[in-house]
Symmetry: C2
Subunit: 381 residues, 2 copies
């Protein structure tokens, strides 16, 4: 039979068959009432997932595009912007800010560290920056920031907070309005269980006021232009209509399950993955606590090459997982478990890891990972 | 039975069932060898359709995004750019250029006019602009420019030509390399028979050289960043993977049919649509010649409201066509016939138009349109 494929990366993530079926429906015109109905439903459902009454804009782009729109709309050339980095994506946003001609004030942690609100307060005060860019879930390390406290630090300093929630929104709690976050950005291809191609940004009144007087050049990313169209249930430019239709189905599934249930499932699946890895005697790279609900970063035993392991999982068994970076590329592999992932996916991937580790000469107790994963998943809080 | 739907707008266009089936395949990771294989095949096939050996960049965006990338990469703040408009899209590019801080030199024709190479030569000489932005198929009017002569005028003036071929590429001849066009931009959702969400730009050596020293801010649109990733068979940002997979199938179908055959089909379908409209006694708004192979613009008889006609076609019969603009919004309707459209689609939509015109009180010879359309389609050149 053809090799079965398992997608367990922190994005793109597996997409439910109902969503793929919606994706394959005949194309509809983006100015038709059929599309308008779907689009308005998508916006309404996104508001529930974002936990906000702020306006949410839809971009046909990757998450980077929607995040770029925040720089382009909130800043004028040479203006200061605090950009917090604790991994690959924070570094990307620092580069993006510099490319756009902002005066980037970097607050840079070691990869694997968690940003501290007191550092944000100090840097905002010292620099006078009025906009702060922060990553919620740093996909490169598995660290999920305490975005509630970080946003509070921004609010106390009178700074606008822009949060990269690309791999977190819909997986772990994020309360846009109750936590007072000005701009929340996410993409379709993570916890929202939809193929890549769409990205979103929610915008507070304060952010919109600032955008009204900022002068960095923008057209495709221009919030004013996009808002004008969305107010009429339409889009300024031809959107990825098929992905909008698919997303509507995915959001329906998420809201039917219930956001709280979805969050709890992610926590329990994270526990399962960590318990399984530890039962194999492996060391965790991502945090060993319930914040690590997006992905699990695991180190191979000394002498076992993580790249080789990952390629064997992929080519021999059909499992696509993520690799590591920098100094620990030889040791780190990352299992993504956001979106359409259940505990049996975790049992399956840990089984494949176990098989390959034994094959590569590691000492691993056979069968320990799967049963530990299931036990951790089933355990009461 | 549920109402059948017919999509006959100049984009999005109907998508073949084989392409929809490819769209619905399980999501693959954009850094996987599975994706790389598809992506490289897409690039190879795009080169055939673009008729170029230049590099082609793939954007997850609408066509506007890819066109924006040409402004962002080819210009520095305040630099002159000739932007030719003969309809809605040319006007959009003039606004985009101004939004980006270029010094836009407008060459603006009445809607429905065809740009003249001598005007381009004159304006380039007078202004000293070194980049010219031109629309190939102006979707608002149905006018297809003589882009070969316009590009030649740019080349003679030593100016870089950027061509909006969004609704033309793959429908009507466009020879990127033989005609010396520096930048050709198109989207997935027109003649390429794929859902919206991807856009493309081919880049000449000369365009890349200019981009190397231009300073408008860019990150998501940054050609250098995108090229670096594509050289490795990858993308800089998460692409709309499912649409890439679907596009690969669509390009396969197009190249199997053969580009020359595809062009000839578009010409004959344009003839069919015009002949049918005229047989009903209707006046054409788009040109009455073989250049009008993308869409047919038709005026209703005096006293018959085009908006009402269009809504009746949609709500009563399931046909989505396009409307008009400005002073003639009450008279103009546009039938798109690019991509996955055959002559029987034209017979069908003309039948619906006939039915509704009679219903609305117009004098129309019943059955004339369909037989005239088929006869025109079948006639030898």
């Amino acid at each position: 039979m053809p090799q079965k494929r398992y997608l367990l990366t922190p994005g793109p993530t597996p997409v439910p068959p109902e969503v793929l079926a919606a994706l394959a429906e005949p194309v509809i015109h983006h100015r038709s009432p059929d599309f308008k109905t779907v689009f308005l439903e998508v916006l309404e459902r996104l508001h529930e997932v974002f936990r906000t009454e702020n306006e949410i804009l839809v971009f046909t782009a990757s998450g980077t595009g929607a995040f770029e729109s925040a720089f382009a709309n909130l800043l004028s050339p040479g203006e200061k912007a605090l950009v917090v980095s604790h991994g690959e994506f924070g570094t990307r946003w620092q580069k993006l800010g510099a490319a756009y001609g902002a005066d980037v004030v970097p607050l840079t942690y070691e990869w694997g560290e968690t940003p501290r609100p007191e550092d944000v307060s100090r840097e905002l005060a010292a620099s006078g920056a009025k906009v702060a860019f922060i990553v919620h879930s740093e996909t490169s390390t598995g660290v999920v920031s305490d975005i509630r406290s970080l946003a509070a630090a921004c609010n106390e300093a009178g700074a606008i907070s822009v949060v990269d929630a690309i791999s977190s929104l819909g997986a772990v709690p994020l309360e846009t309005d109750p936590w007072g976050i000005d701009v929340v950005v996410t993409g379709s291809q993570k916890a929202l269980m939809t193929p890549p191609g769409l990205a979103f940004a929610s915008l507070s009144e304060r952010a919109l006021e600032r955008a009204a007087s900022s002068t960095l050049p923008r057209f495709y990313w221009d919030w004013t232009r996009l808002r004008g169209a969305q107010e009429k249930g339409s889009t300024a430019f031809t959107p990825a209509t098929s992905i909008v239709v698919a997303l509507n189905k995915a959001l329906e599934l998420i809201l039917e399950e219930g956001l709280e249930t979805v969050y709890a499932r992610h926590v329990r699946i994270g526990r399962a993955c960590r318990a399984g890895a530890k039962a194999m005697g492996l060391e965790l790279y991502s945090p060993d606590d319930d914040t690590a609900a997006v992905l699990t970063g695991i180190l191979t035993p000394p002498g076992i090459d993580a790249v080789e392991l990952r390629l064997a999982l992929r080519d021999r068994h059909g499992f696509t997982i993520a690799g590591g970076h920098g100094d620990i590329v030889d040791r780190l592999f990352r299992i993504g478990h956001i979106g359409y992932v259940d505990v049996f996916d975790i049992v399956a991937v840990l089984g494949a890891v176990e098989l390959e580790l034994v094959e590569m000469g590691a000492t691993v107790e056979r069968g320990a990972a799967g049963s530990a994963a299931l036990a951790a998943f089933e355990a009461e809080d």
